[in-house]
Symmetry: C2
Subunit: 331 residues, 2 copies
């Protein structure tokens, strides 16, 4: 009887505590937007194993590095990468000051919304669109342009802001890892200066923990003040093998957990999983045509083919969006 009262008291205190301190409520189930089809408990077990002092798999906090791809892993990437939508919008916004663009078949295709012609222009065309819209201004100016755009732009079919089309289960995972002493990084093929202006508010990942592709910048004095001017020249492509290379260049520690969604993330997973001790690697499989999109082996964006076939031999798991996620978007 005495025990029963104690138990009841404990429960009441826990309830009151969870109401006053929402963090305690999260501690009860740190991943409420995940169903448990195996992946959820695999994550929980992994984190417990590497953070328990008495565990044979214990990892010092300094070495608890987790890396996340962005497009298709943390936010929507279909039907077209968000940064490309940004570039198309920029072509249209900048066109009035560039009458000469009408003579350029690729830019003219963008202006006419002729996506077939844009696609047909291939990598060369996309690179041209990227350089025309991403270079020629200072880093501060570009950050302002991105911030203005992301505050208003809407997804073409889901009709919501892109920052609302971030994945709630992955955001919970980031916070859960952070609460357990992990340093969480984005390692994306997307432009680092395209992500930094909004990623901290969206994911709680600060600018200095965002790794991405980038173009060359030049240091110049302008009105007596130094500026960094963005040049139409690739500096680093943080994609495929570049993700492992970027992790070593920018972090200098091997992650113990990595999360992606495409074949382009495999080298990051391989680099992570090849380290000694307990590791975790997962790929989000877009299986949910109803709530988001369903695509994999033949997709233009986030192609996932080898990532499915080699999951077992490679040692990573597939997150089944439809089955594993009770909720998809953060808003």
């Amino acid at each position: 009887m005495r025990q029963s009262i104690q138990t009841r008291l404990t429960l009441i205190i826990a309830l009151i505590t969870s109401l006053i301190f929402p963090a305690f409520a999260i501690a009860a189930d740190p991943l409420p937007s995940w169903n448990d089809g195996g992946n959820k408990s695999a994550i929980l077990k992994f984190v417990t194993a590497v953070t328990s002092q008495t565990s044979p798999d214990f990892v010092e906090p300094a070495e608890r590095i987790a890396t996340f791809d962005n497009d298709g892993t943390l936010w929507v990437e279909a039907p077209m990468y968000t940064q490309l939508m940004f570039a198309f919008d920029r072509v249209k916004a900048m066109a009035p000051n560039h009458p000469e663009w009408k003579d350029d078949p690729v830019l003219e295709a963008v202006l006419k919304d002729d996506m077939k012609a844009v696609a047909a222009s291939g990598k060369k065309g996309i690179l041209e669109i990227a350089m025309k819209t991403h270079a020629g201004m200072t880093t501060d100016e570009f950050a302002g342009i991105v911030s203005d755009w992301i505050a208003k732009a809407e997804h073409p079919t889901l009709k919501r802001k892109y920052t609302e089309l971030t994945y709630q289960p992955m955001k919970e995972l980031i916070l859960y890892l952070q609460a357990n002493g992990f340093k969480t990084y984005i390692v994306s093929g997307g432009g680092v200066e395209f992500m930094r202006p909004w990623a901290e508010a969206a994911y709680n990942i600060p600018p200095e923990q965002i790794i991405g592709s980038s173009i060359v910048t030049e240091f110049k004095m302008k009105d007596g003040k130094p500026v960094l001017v963005r040049q139409p020249k690739i500096f680093f492509i943080d994609d495929k093998e570049g993700k492992a290379i970027g992790i070593q260049k920018f972090i200098g520690r091997r992650p113990i957990a990595s999360f992606g969604n495409a074949d382009a993330d495999i080298p990051m997973l391989q680099w992570t999983l090849a380290g000694e001790g307990r590791r975790l690697g997962m790929l989000v499989h877009h299986t949910d045509a109803q709530r988001e999109f369903a695509y994999d082996r033949k997709s233009i964006v986030g192609k996932l083919d080898q990532g499915i076939d080699n999951a077992k031999s490679g040692g990573w798991s597939l997150i089944d969006m439809k089955a594993d996620w009770a909720r998809v978007f953060s808003k």
Copy 2:
């Protein structure tokens, strides 16, 4: 009388506390190896101003970024950059497996300790020496080579390990800034993978907060495991204007305090000081021929010329090693 006893009691408690908890003693004077010729109090005032919630100069912890050059700012760089001494030692260690090096005038000069001929070979010669000794192995292998070397190598005239020739006043400054919520970064012209293996133990700065020059790496599979193989090709030179560029690329936030010792650090200082709000920039002036070395305008290493002439107009201060530092080396 009662007050006097209280005062005495307080002093005794402070004394006991400082003996039991050395951190409290540091809190009393966080920079004990600094004499106060103005720079010490400037540092203390700056940190108080940006960390006091009620101060008009208050800066959020997330924005408290401080950057430090390494060679000549955090450790000895005279008579020759430590990494170059490493490269010379590596040429000698590797030579038995490279009989063909005897036909190479630059490498042969290193093998014969003919420093005049090495110097005469200029940047091209130095680059060749660097590439022969820094490329061709995996990143893990290179880290091991650096660790082995730094554990044993001694400075040619000071006859002590290089990690003992780190500057105690600057180490105190790093710890003091960290204790006040700063994220401290190294931003060096030296190789990032040459610094990472030992810098955390030496300065309490983790690998992911070290920015430096680097060479291209290639992702390869070796015995079924991924490796990153160092290539004899420059990826990024984190020197002069490259320091401001590197800060933006790797951190993505503008520092509020920067410390260097050479003209090559001026762009980093300019970039730091051009930001809004209160800022701090300082250059270590090597004025102490007795305890360390005295050099500035005409030095081959750490040339400091514009840094002296433009200190006032640029808004940075000169740290006079001889006058400002009560102690130079950490051991």
